[in-house]
C-alpha cells in the first residue's frame, strides 16, 4: 500500500496490513477458525468469521507489538461476546508478555443483539486494559473509521495511554441519534453533520485534550503517530488519575456554560475559530498547537 491510503476508507485488514511492518502480522483466532458469535443465528442475522475484530501480533519499526482492529462495516463494529473476548484475551496476553497494544477502534459500542454479554465484555476489556497499564504496558488507540468510537468503545478509549485521532474520527459515549432520541432535536440535531463533527470529531477532541495526537486521514500518518505515542511513558497511578480529575474539573468550570464547540475554541484563543472545520491538517495544527488543552497521562 502506498502513502495515499485513506484510513477512513480502508477496512480493518487493510489498516493492519498497512500500519505494521510489511508481512509481519500473524493473526490469532483467524477467520478459518470460525469463532463466530453464538447469538446472531438466533436473530437470523449474518455472521462474520472473525466476528468483526482482528487480533494478532506483528512488528512496528522492528518493535514487537500486539494489535486489535475493529471492522466498522460489520454491524457498525459493535462489540459482542466473541468480539469482546478476543480483545480481552489480547490485553491479558499483552500484560504477561509486556508488549504494547494498538487498538484500531471503529465501533458504535455494544452489539444490541447480545447486549448483556456485550456490556460484560466492555467491563472485562476495561479491567484488562487498566491492569496492563498498571503493569507499565502501553495501549494506544487509533480512531479515524466510519463508525467512529462510541458507546462502550468510547469508555475503552478513555482508558488508553494515548489516543490518535483524524478529522474523520469521532469519540463520544452517547452517539448523535441517542442524544436526539433522549433529549430532543433542540438539544442535538443528529442530521446536522457539521454539528456532529464539531462536537465529537477529531479536531474538537484534539483541541480539548480528549486526544493526544491529530493525524491526517492516511495510514502512514497513523503509523508515524503511533510510533510517537509509543515513545511516551503511559504511566498510570493514583497521582496521574488525580491530576486528570483536576484537569477535567477545571475544564468543566471553564467551558461548562459553552453552547457550541466554537465558543470553546474562541475561549481557547484560537484565531478565526469559525474556520477550524475547513482547515487542512498542517494549517489546523499550526493554528492550535499552542492553544489546545493538553491531554494528561490518565487520558
Amino acid at each position: 500500500m502506498t502513502s495515499a491510503t485513506s484510513w477512513y476508507e480502508a477496512n480493518a485488514r487493510q489498516r493492519v496490513e498497512a500500519l505494521l511492518d510489511p508481512r509481519s502480522f500473524a493473526e490469532f483466532i483467524g477467520p478459518e477458525q470460525r469463532e463466530i458469535s453464538p447469538h446472531l443465528a438466533i436473530f437470523d442475522l449474518p455472521e462474520q468469521f472473525d466476528d468483526g475484530i482482528i487480533v494478532g501480533r506483528g512488528t512496528l519499526k522492528g518493535r514487537r507489538i500486539l494489535v486489535a482492529a475493529q471492522e466498522g462495516r460489520f454491524m457498525g463494529g459493535a462489540i459482542g461476546e466473541v468480539h469482546g473476548a478476543k480483545l480481552t484475551g489480547l490485553l491479558r496476553a499483552a500484560r504477561s508478555l509486556g508488549e504494547p497494544v494498538l487498538i484500531l477502534f471503529d465501533t458504535g459500542g455494544v452489539r444490541l443483539q447480545e447486549a448483556n454479554v456485550g456490556e460484560l465484555a466492555i467491563a472485562e476489556i476495561m479491567r484488562a486494559l487498566v491492569e496492563m497499564r498498571m503493569a507499565g504496558v502501553q495501549v494506544v488507540g487509533l480512531i479515524g473509521g466510519r463508525a467512529g468510537c462510541y458507546g462502550g468503545g468510547g469508555l475503552i478509549a478513555g482508558c488508553c495511554s494515548a489516543l490518535i485521532v483524524s478529522e474523520q474520527g469521532r469519540i463520544s459515549v452517547s452517539g448523535p441519534e441517542v442524544i436526539e432520541t433522549n433529549k430532543g432535536v433542540e438539544e442535538f440535531d443528529s442530521r446536522d453533520r457539521a454539528l456532529v463533527w464539531r462536537t465529537m470529531g477529531g479536531k474538537h477532541r484534539y483541541l480539548i485534550g480528549g486526544a493526544d495526537a491529530f493525524a491526517d486521514d492516511d495510514v502512514l500518518a497513523f503509523r508515524e503517530a503511533a510510533l510517537m505515542a509509543l515513545a511516551g511513558n503511559g504511566r498510570l497511578d493514583a497521582g496521574v488519575l488525580e491530576a486528570e480529575q483536576q484537569r477535567l474539573e477545571r475544564r468543566l468550570h471553564r467551558f461548562g456554560k459553552a453552547h457550541d464547540a466554537v465558543d470553546i475554541w474562541t475561549d481557547l484563543g484560537v484565531r478565526e475559530p469559525a474556520e477550524i472545520a475547513g482547515l487542512a491538517t498542517d494549517e489546523f495544527l499550526r493554528r492550535v498547537t499552542d492553544k489546545r488543552e493538553t491531554a494528561n497521562g490518565a487520558r
Binding site: G30, P31, L45, P46, Q48, F49, E71, R73, F74
Partner: protein, 103 residues
C-alpha cells in the same frame, strides 16, 4: 439465513501455495469470501450463508461463470453474504482467487 452449497468441477486448479485468503466484509450489499486450500485439484466447494432468500438460481449462475473463468480447483470457499448483488459477488470471488495465488 438461507444456506446453499455447490460442488463444482473447475477445469483449472488454483495457483500458488498460500493456505487461505479472505476478502470483503459482511455489510449491506457486501460479502466476505474465505478461501481455503485442501480439496482435490478438480473440485471446488462453495458454501454460502445469505441474508437474501430465494436467489439460488442467481448464485448458481454466478458460481458457474466463476469456475469457468477462474482457476478455482482445490478450493473450499465459504461465503457470508449481507445481500450483495451478483456483480459484487463476482468481483469478490475474483479478488479471492487472486489473493490466494500471492506468496
Amino acid at each position: 439465513m438461507e444456506k446453499l452449497s455447490f460442488t463444482m468441477k473447475p477445469s483449472t486448479a488454483a495457483a500458488g501455495t498460500r493456505a487461505r485468503a479472505i476478502v470483503g466484509v459482511v455489510a449491506s450489499g457486501n460479502l466476505e469470501v474465505l478461501l481455503e486450500r485442501g480439496l482435490p485439484a478438480n473440485i471446488c466447494v462453495i458454501d454460502i450463508a445469505t441474508a437474501a432468500h430465494g436467489f439460488a438460481a442467481v448464485w448458481e449462475a454466478v458460481i458457474d461463470d466463476f469456475v469457468t473463468r477462474r482457476p478455482a480447483g482445490g478450493l473450499h470457499i465459504s461465503i457470508n453474504d449481507g445481500g450483495a448483488r451478483p456483480d459484487m459477488v463476482s468481483l469478490r470471488l475474483a479478488q479471492g482467487v487472486r489473493l490466494i495465488e500471492e506468496l
